[in-house]
Assembly symmetry: C2
Homo-oligomer: 251 residues x 2
């Protein structure tokens, strides 16, 4: 159903709060197919392939809640604010999105209300309940990226991105040295590219430790790959948390 | 009704978005009177006396929306995160709040869900609709403070507080030099005291210009006083906006 949000392990008491904004490539019937052919609707422009499988595995392994979207980011990208051109992108990489080219203010408001606001409300509620219990989770968003972008091959396999507080991202990068994944900080992009909206809204105002995980999606092509990456990342996340000084309130 | 949020001029197209978290001293019946006598329930600990009259006058004069709370901050202070001890304070200045002394996690969650989350949802929605229209409002929160605090008289009449971006607060302070009000930046307290929660959640992540206005409440004792202060502040806010360089997106 449009506006539905996928909450997993909502009562789990683990130290993380996972978020997967780009979990789904579903385009609700009322938006037609945005004028896209089936190949485009399956491509990375519509979602982060493999990310939800990885995010669910992390949520289960680390016994921590997961909040995930259920609608394609081409209808509304929940990791973008409503005034961002890429909230309802007219173009993404080499693809034009016909259904978004002539979107007017009313159309943007409709999508904001039907998709962005329910997602924000679900995440705000999950975080608020955890904070009210006196627990301060590490906020971790789970993404995947395409191995080839505008014809260029990307060598990095595991990108770790942060907002203003780099401490947990740095600890995670240090822990990732032991993984069989080529890790990099703030690759293949960084907060300066506008990709840290969820972190800016939900981690930084509360002074919460945080990181955005970006996995190259060829590593997440099937369930076995997703589980293998999840095992590595769960290990690194756990060690990163142990390496952090006692988490203190910043805000 | 508990959880109700007071939205005024929701479709107005002016340049500000006003917020009044401490508008009301209403304590819903299910919370009894929190063990307080009538004098305490009327005192500044329960609300910001005069603030809602001022906020409504500013909203009307500047043709800009206002989002206001409808429940006493002693039940839940909507300008505090759910993990803050002062979200449901057990003590405020010289007053003890009996109904808050033994509040457990479930009690905090109940208040968070009934009061904080609806307030956050209403403010998030109002701001998101404005952003989706391509307008980036200046976020202005409206507060009042007590002339006497722990026996000490406060000389400042108009405090201007900001989060990390001081630019609009500075412009407003400059404009306030022409007003018959003793103005001060970051008085009688500042973001370091944890009073900037609304700004941190709704202004800073979007890179919006912002200020928190604090008016000494003896100046807001009646409707005439509230209108007089509103006239002065509307003038200063307008001149401050004119003095700002073209507002650019930071985030």
């Amino acid at each position: 159903m449009i506006g539905e949000v996928d909450l997993r392990n909502g009562e789990a008491a683990g130290p993380f709060l996972f978020v997967c904004e780009h979990a789904s490539n579903s385009i609700p019937a009322e938006f037609g197919n945005l004028g896209l052919d089936p190949a485009a609707r399956e491509a990375h422009i519509a979602w982060d392939p493999g990310a939800i499988g990885l995010a669910r595995a992390l949520s289960d392994r680390l016994e921590s809640p997961l909040v995930a979207g259920t609608t394609s980011r081409l209808v509304y990208d929940c990791n973008r604010p409503p005034d961002s051109p890429s909230a309802c992108a007219g173009r993404s990489e080499i693809f034009e999105i016909p259904g978004n080219l002539d979107l007017d203010a009313e159309g943007r408001i409709t999508r904001t209300e039907k998709i962005y606001l329910p997602f924000q409300a679900a995440l705000t509620r999950q975080l608020a309940r955890t904070l009210a219990r006196g627990r301060r989770p590490v906020l971790v968003t789970v993404h995947s990226f395409t191995p080839v972008w505008f014809g260029q091959t990307r060598e990095v396999e595991f990108g770790i991105i942060h907002d203003t507080d780099a401490s947990f991202a740095q600890a995670l990068f240090d822990a990732a040295r032991d993984l069989p994944l080529r890790a990099a900080l703030n690759q293949p992009y960084s907060a300066a590219d506008g990709v840290a909206h969820t972190l800016k809204l939900h981690a930084t105002p509360h002074g919460l430790a945080h990181a955005m995980l970006e996995i190259r999606n060829d590593l997440l092509a099937g369930a076995a790959g997703q589980q293998a990456v999840a095992a590595h990342l769960a290990d690194a996340l756990t060690r990163a948390l142990q390496a952090m000084p006692a988490l203190e309130r910043i805000a």
